[in-house]
Amino acid sequence: MERIPILKMGTYLLVSIQVDMHDQLAMQLQDDLTTRIAATGARGVLIDISALEMVDSFIGRMLGNIASMSRVPDAETVVVGMRPAVAITLVELGLSLPRVRTALDVERGMELLASSIAAAERDDDLADR
């Protein structure tokens, strides 16, 4: 059974989708990712889709779902490296994924994760006082 690897890097989880997503694979990823977040207590998830050339409405919705699900156990999710054609397709399908954070590439995605987690911690500290 084909699987998309999930790499742990400090408090972050890295997912790089290098193959064409099909429905089964997307369901599997959703399953694996939520399990791993729970197991590692990760604070951030970065999903790199720069190699993804084709999306349909199901995969689009899946990306949105995965982001929403990881937010529940307090892990920020950033989707990075979306191709122009994929972005146009998603918008035309009516899936503008308003709740998903995005970044141009992995580097910027990491910065975004770091800054938003730092901001969240600062807020927590303020609330504790």
Partner: protein
């Protein structure tokens, strides 16, 4: 009968080619007299002679159907002539006259060569038909090449009117000019997203100062472009919203709350600089200092 007359017309033209050419040239010279700037005489002479030769070849093969294989050289020649004239800026009637002006010399020659009245009428009728269809063909080609020119211009206009400019490292601007329809939105979206990838920009400013009206459709097109850019990880700012457009947007109930909007491109650029962690300061600090000192001195005095 048709076959008979076919050979007569072709034969007569071949036999008296020089005479017909001379006569025809004289007529054409009158018609191009005003267009000396576009076409010279030797050129016209060459085209006319080529056409006469091709005409003889065609008429020999089939006198009543210009789509027969025998006419192919003649049609190709007309294609070329018509194309070049469309490019040179001849008017449609001037282009059609090239073929149609051949009637008179041809008929004169027919009258000289055919004595029997019935046969003459028959010959003239056949020749008229074939020259008319050649004339119509010329017009068709002329029209087609003009349409080609228009299409190309439209395409160029479309590309010209959607430039993506880099204002600063990581800041793109897209000055939109003209009405936004679906086709243009597509071009705008594609070129913007492509540039975002190429330059790794974080912020894109859509300036709609040049967009005459914003209706729900245009607003939707704008929002689509913004959503696509956001999916790639770039933020968009809309600038150049004129007072009337602001009123229309509110009246139409278009929700622009999720988008940063600014009145001018300068405001949008300032906020873009701030978001990318840059600031603009006046370089004439010394001047101001000097002035301040001057006024301080004045106060002391």
């Amino acid at each position: 009968m048709a076959k008979m007359s076919a050979s007569r017309v072709a034969g007569i033209v071949r036999e008296h080619e020089d005479q017909i050419l001379l006569d025809w040239m004289n007529r054409q010279k009158e018609s191009i007299a005003t267009r000396r700037d576009l076409m010279n005489e030797p050129e016209l002479q060459r085209q006319s002679r080529e056409f006469l030769n091709a005409f003889v070849a065609g008429a020999n093969g089939s006198i009543d159907n210009i789509h027969a294989p025998a006419w192919r050289p003649a049609l190709e020649l007309l294609n070329r002539i018509s194309d070049s004239r469309a490019m040179q800026g001849f008017s449609p009637s001037e282009t059609a006259t090239f073929v149609l002006s051949m009637k008179q010399p041809l008929f004169t020659q027919l009258r000289k060569s055919v004595s029997d009245v019935d046969t003459l009428a028959e010959e003239i009728w056949t020749a008229t038909l074939i020259l008319d269809s050649l004339g119509l063909y010329t017009m068709e080609v002329f029209q087609k090449s003009r349409e080609g020119v228009i299409m190309r211009q439209q395409q160029e206009l479309l590309e010209l009117s959607t430039p993506v400019v880099t204002l600063w490292q990581g800041i793109l601007a897209l000055p939109l000019i003209g009405t936004l329809d679906s086709a243009r939105t597509q071009v705008v979206m594609e070129s913007l997203l492509q540039r975002i990838v190429e330059t790794g920009s974080l912020i894109a400013i859509l300036d709609i100062t040049g967009v005459p009206t914003v209706d729900t459709l245009v607003a939707q097109h704008l929002l689509k472009t913004i959503a696509a850019a956001r999916l790639m990880g770039a933020d968009c700012i809309i600038s150049g919203i004129r007072p009337q457009i602001a009123q229309t947007i509110v009246h139409l109930g278009v929700d622009l709350n999720t988008v940063t909007t600014k009145a001018t491109l300068a405001d949008a650029f300032a906020i873009a600089l701030r978001r990318t962690g840059r600031s603009v300061t006046a370089a004439r600090g010394e001047v101001r200092d000097a002035k301040a000192q001057g006024s301080a001195a004045g106060a002391e005095a």
